[in-house]
Amino acid sequence: MENAVEVKDLHIIYKGLKKMSIKQSITKFKINRMETFEALKGITFNLQKGKILGIIGKNGSGKSTLLRAIAGIFAPDSGTIDLKGNSVSLLSIGAGFQNKLTGFENIILSGLLLGFSEETVRKKIPEIIEFSELGDFIYKPVKTYSSGMYSKLAFSITAILETDIMLIDEVLSVGDIHFREKSGNRMQQIIKDESKTVIIVSHSMGTIKDLCDEVLWINDGVMMEHGETKTVCDHYEEFMKNLKQQ
């Protein structure tokens, strides 16, 4: 099998990029500059096409940073990320909708941003609207939506407008029980599709164990283990238990 994602010695550093005011930049010219924080310290892994990778680790260990780097939102400070020309989309809570615009317009804008043509998006729109269960609300500005409707729409867009690689950040619990079931099924469907490569970040060990072919465990930006789901999950759970006892 060919690889869909190749990540080599990835480092992401938040450095000297702190926002500052003009006064600060004059008075503290050099002091503030070099505050660095290394979020990822050398991550290396390959993921084959069609596989599902779960990323686990405690809060603040760099999971979301890794996903964003793969999505192309952050550039690596050193190391490389090679997606082999596959298209990629990131599905996360709090999608970037524009509140003043209607749901319909937001669908088209999101689609265009993901690199689809307007025709493709328009063709898929009925499916998206139906899946999101928003009905006539789709023609109302997004600011009138409830938070559930908001995330349902976000989920529907990314789930229907499929890219080769899908990155999922903690969104498997969207909406009410009914929608959760539906989105779960849809995820299963995407995941079963051999041509889709999926990377999931989740704190729910159940989800990870159910869905993933392999698991990557990160702790404080360092790669702890990458391998078969069951082995890595067991080691991780043991590690977390020890952490609690200390």
């Binding site: 938040y14 702190k18 964003r68 990131l90 970037g96 317009e105 265009l112 941003l113 307007e118």
Partner: protein
């Protein structure tokens, strides 16, 4: 450079659709909807005409047209420049989700302002009829001046966009500076007649807003040809500024998401 053109081509539809949606959203929530696009600049013009003609007791020939040209040109320049400072911050939701070349946001915003400017152009023509300003062929030079002021504004905008991400209070500074430039752009007075000679020439050449406003008045009111060489030079300056801004953005945009 090639990357810039490719990116623009790739995201052009997005920028246009976004601009359209924004314009639509602007009118759907108000009573008089699109009439505001006409009413807003015209009311501004009336206020200035009242203050200058009635209170200050001075005037320029065809003053309502004169001040209207100044105000709308200034609006285009001012909105693009001041709007660019916070544009990355305002689109943080998108930036955290998907990679977009950041100047696309500015491009789309500038389309909104350009559209409003086109409406203003129609109003200028109507005002010219209403105040019996003689029409001449020089009006056809209009697009040249628009391209010039647009390129300069966009160029300054790309640079402000970059620094606006890292310097939190840049918008305060920009607003004060723009206010300063505003009073030196001859919006409600004529620089060439009110200000003594060497200074007026410098002001008209060194300030792109003043320069373009002056050129617009030449073609609409005076019916004489614009300063083609000056237009060309400012156009090149705008291109150079855009090149610098785009280069800065290409180099640093992947770290924007870490800051905002």
């Amino acid at each position: 450079m090639r990357r810039f053109i490719n990116n623009i081509r790739k995201h052009f539809r997005y920028a246009v659709y976004q601009a359209k949606a924004e314009l639509k959203a602007e009118i759907t929530n108000s009573y008089l909807n699109w009439i505001w696009w006409f009413l807003d600049p015209v009311c501004n013009m009336l206020i200035y005409t009242f203050i200058v003609e009635v209170i200050f007791q001075t005037s320029e020939p065809y003053f309502p047209v004169f001040v209207f040209i100044g105000l709308t040109t200034w609006d285009l320049f001012n909105r693009i420049v001041s709007g660019s400072v916070k544009i990355v911050k305002n689109n943080v939701g998108i930036i955290n989700k998907v990679y977009v070349p950041k100047y696309i946001f500015l491009l789309s915003k500038s389309f909104v302002f350009l559209f409003k400017f086109m409406i203003a152009f129609i109003i200028i023509l109507l005002l010219m009829v209403g105040f019996h300003v003689p029409f001449t062929w020089q009006i056809l030079n209009f697009p040249l001046i628009v391209i010039c002021i647009y390129t300069v504004s966009f160029g300054i905008g790309t640079i402000m966009l970059h620094f606006g991400v890292f310097v939190e209070d840049l918008s305060n500074v920009t607003n004060i500076f723009l206010k300063f430039v505003y009073y030196f752009s001859g919006i409600f007075y004529s620089i060439s007649t009110r200000i003594p000679k060497p200074f007026s020439t410098i002001m008209l050449i060194a300030n792109p807003a003043a320069f373009c406003i002056h050129q617009f008045r030449k073609i609409f009111i005076d019916g004489i040809a614009p300063n083609y060489i000056g237009l060309l030079l400012w156009f090149f300056a705008g291109c150079a500024l855009t090149a610098i801004g785009v280069k800065l953005i290409h180099k640093y945009e992947s770290s924007y998401a870490k800051v905002v």
